[in-house]
């Protein structure tokens, strides 16, 4: 019998982390934020508004189970903390209302704004959230309060899911695609569309033409960047500018957005995929303090 080993190139690595230097029993307020997205789910625990632990997992078919899984994985990593030890849990993201143990839900727009200020510092004014299935350009003030936003959730073009599909098609692990796309001598013309369906057939055409994988990725990421920059310009880009969400880890896309904008994206202090969950946890802390007053 022959077994075919099929790799899933789109699979990005899940991660779980805890800050061993802190002791959670010393904290006054323990808050938890859960960002239940269409492609990934993040859970974070913050001690008095400082990041302590997180889990970043793929979202499964059940929203409630995905939230549960992320929180449990994080608690297991911490070791001796139980869910009841957490003072306040806030849910956010696309599936935010399917988190049965969250005390409150807050929109992802508000949470991403607030979280971005934590991840990037209070200088950030424009936040681009590049998620699994949508794009959001958010303008915030120094506290991370949303002033304006523009999104596209009707079309997966240029989103995380679109990039997953292309990586699968080219058999390139998604974590390496960004770096690989920069290894071209000359930047190729962007593919004519970032529509997931049409891009797929266009890319197959390029493979047939004999284009290298690097060049195809460069052309695709170039198109993604163009689309994002148009969205940003419509909401008005103000420095400082930062990218959150999974695609912020794709250097190939980030670099091209920076080149087109003529602006350098801020360097994150923490994993930028956590911004939404961090914002939720910070709101959770404030809600707990408010409830005690």
């Amino acid at each position: 019998m022959v077994t075919v080993q099929e790799s899933e190139y789109w699979r990005w690595p899940e991660s779980i982390w805890v800050d061993e230097s802190k002791n959670w029993q010393d904290a006054e307020v323990i808050s938890c934020g859960i960002d239940l997205g269409s492609v990934s789910t993040q859970a974070v625990v913050m001690l008095d508004g400082e990041l302590y632990a997180y889990a970043n997992m793929r979202t499964g078919t059940s929203s409630a189970a995905s939230a549960e899984k992320a929180v449990n994985a994080m608690l297991e990593k911490i070791g001796d903390m139980k869910r009841d030890d957490i003072h306040y849990i806030v849910g956010t993201g696309y599936g935010r209302v399917s988190i049965p143990f969250a005390q409150k839900t807050i929109t992802e727009i508000a949470c991403h704004g607030r979280g971005a200020v934590y991840v990037y510092g209070d200088k950030v004014r424009t936040v681009l959230d590049m998620g699994g299935q949508d794009l959001k350009a958010i303008k915030v003030d120094s506290r991370g309060k949303v002033i304006n936003f523009l999104m596209n959730d009707k079309c997966a073009a240029g989103t995380g899911r679109g990039i997953e599909v292309v990586c699968d098609l080219l058999s390139i692990p998604i974590t390496e695609a960004g770096q690989l796309s920069l290894q071209v001598d000359e930047e190729p013309e962007p593919v004519s569309t970032t529509c997931v369906v049409f891009a797929k057939s266009e890319i197959l055409g390029l493979i047939r033409k004999g284009w290298g994988k690097e060049r195809i990725l460069a052309a695709f990421f170039n198109a993604v960047a163009s689309r994002v920059v148009e969205l940003l310009e419509r909401v008005g880009v103000e420095p400082e500018f930062a990218i959150t969400g999974g695609i912020s880890k794709n250097i190939g896309v980030v670099k091209r957005i920076e080149d087109k904008l003529g602006l350098k994206a801020l360097e994150p202090k923490y994993d930028p995929q956590l911004a939404g969950a961090i914002g939720a946890a910070l709101f959770g802390r404030a809600l707990y303090i408010k409830s005690k007053k």
Binding site: V97, R143, N148, N152, D153, C155, E230, R234
Partner: protein, 362 residues
């Protein structure tokens, strides 16, 4: 005062006003487009001889503008334009009569034949950044960037866009860049609102309209070849009053007032608003959806999605005067879409949506 009846509701109204004015004042919506509260009604205005677009001359014949034809109602059994018919004692008005509705629809078809409308009829219109079109319509056939506050769109959504509406074909009409304004005549529906605004509000005579001899079409344009020659006072009233996206202030000087006149103009609600009382809430479905709360002035103050409309709205009783709702499975997404729409129209969040405001400094 005279006593009239609109859709069975008895009203005591001021004499000398039109049916449209008294209806809107009493929160009865009649679709309208060429009407604007700051200028006189359009029907019966005499056409000019010549107008210009980008220096190009349009010679007209004698005639008058008949109006957009969207405000038709039945008054004492006759089909009339609500914007042009004064009220009289004992008048009975029916705004929902089949004949009136049919007339409105056929006039909407006429307007849309020469105005882009794919975005208005698109199922994905909310939540679309309108940069890339999923259906591949070319940019010229799509709606302009004022989509989220387009009065033509709101009016058309209320009337309902008939299936016989023809596809819009780009005609390549002049796009004129003047000192302060940019005119894209492809978006013009020739409702003459800017003409009346120019004449009556600023008392300039820089804009006019002609009736084309061939098809009897109305064409709006400048009364002379250039802005200065036409006597333009650069007041920006045309920018404010246009119900579509024809004229823009290049220097954005009018941007703070941008479209305020239209936001203030009464627009149709998406669904009928109900009073927010325990009784009205009790009959709601206990299913997922989105709702909006309104204050006494019918301004949206809160937008929220919820897995259970009845339960959630029950807890909102007392926070606002009215509400409307729609059932929707993907309510978190729909909530974001409606907030986005509100933000683009008003440039700020609905008042009560700022509830997390006090959580920033704790």
């Amino acid at each position: 005062m005279v006593r009239i009846t609109i859709d069975g509701v008895q009203l005591d109204v001021e004499e000398g006003k039109t049916i449209l004015e008294v209806a809107l004042k009493n929160n009865i919506y009649i679709p309208n487009l060429c009407y604007h509260p700051n200028v006189s009604p359009a029907p019966g205005k005499i056409a000019d001889e010549i107008v210009y677009r980008n220096g190009e001359r349009y010679q007209g014949v004698e005639g008058e503008y008949e109006g957009c034809g969207l405000c038709f109602v039945i008054a004492d059994g006759e089909i009339v334009k609500a914007c042009d018919t004064p009220v009289r004692d004992g008048l009975k008005v029916d705004t929902r009569d089949e004949r009136a509705i049919k007339e409105r629809k056929s006039n909407l078809v006429r307007i849309f034949a020469t105005h882009p409308h794919v975005c208005i009829t698109c199922e994905y219109r909310n939540g679309c950044d309108r940069i890339q079109c999923t259906f591949g319509y070319p940019v010229e056939e799509r709606c302009c960037d004022l989509f989220s506050k387009c009065e033509l769109r709101f009016t058309a959504e209320y009337i309902g866009i008939p299936p016989e509406t023809p596809r819009y074909m780009y005609r390549g009409l002049p796009v004129v860049e003047e000192k302060l304004y940019k005119w894209d005549w492809n978006y013009c529906i020739n409702c003459t609102r800017c003409v009346r605004g120019c004449r009556e509000v600023r008392e300039a005579n820089a804009l006019g309209f002609v009736i084309e001899s061939s098809a009897g079409n109305v064409i709006v344009g400048r009364t002379a070849q250039t802005d200065v020659e036409s006597g333009c006072k650069f007041c920006g009233v045309c920018v404010e009053i246009c119900p579509t996206g024809v004229v823009r202030d290049i220097k954005k000087k009018a941007s703070n007032k941008w479209r305020d006149s239209i936001v203030a103009k009464k627009l149709p609600l998406l669904t009928e608003a109900l009073e927010l009382t325990p009784e009205s809430v009790a009959s709601l479905p206990d299913s997922p959806g989105v709702f909006r709360l309104y204050d006494e002035n019918m301004e949206v103050v809160y937008i929220k999605g919820t897995p259970n409309l009845r339960e959630e709205l029950h807890s909102e009783v007392g926070r606002a005067a009215y509400f409307d709702y729609e059932e929707h499975e993907m309510y978190t997404m729909r909530e974001s879409e409606l907030i986005q729409e509100f933000l683009q129209k008003h440039g700020r969040m609905p008042k009560l949506n700022d509830e997390v405001d006090d959580l920033f400094d704790l």
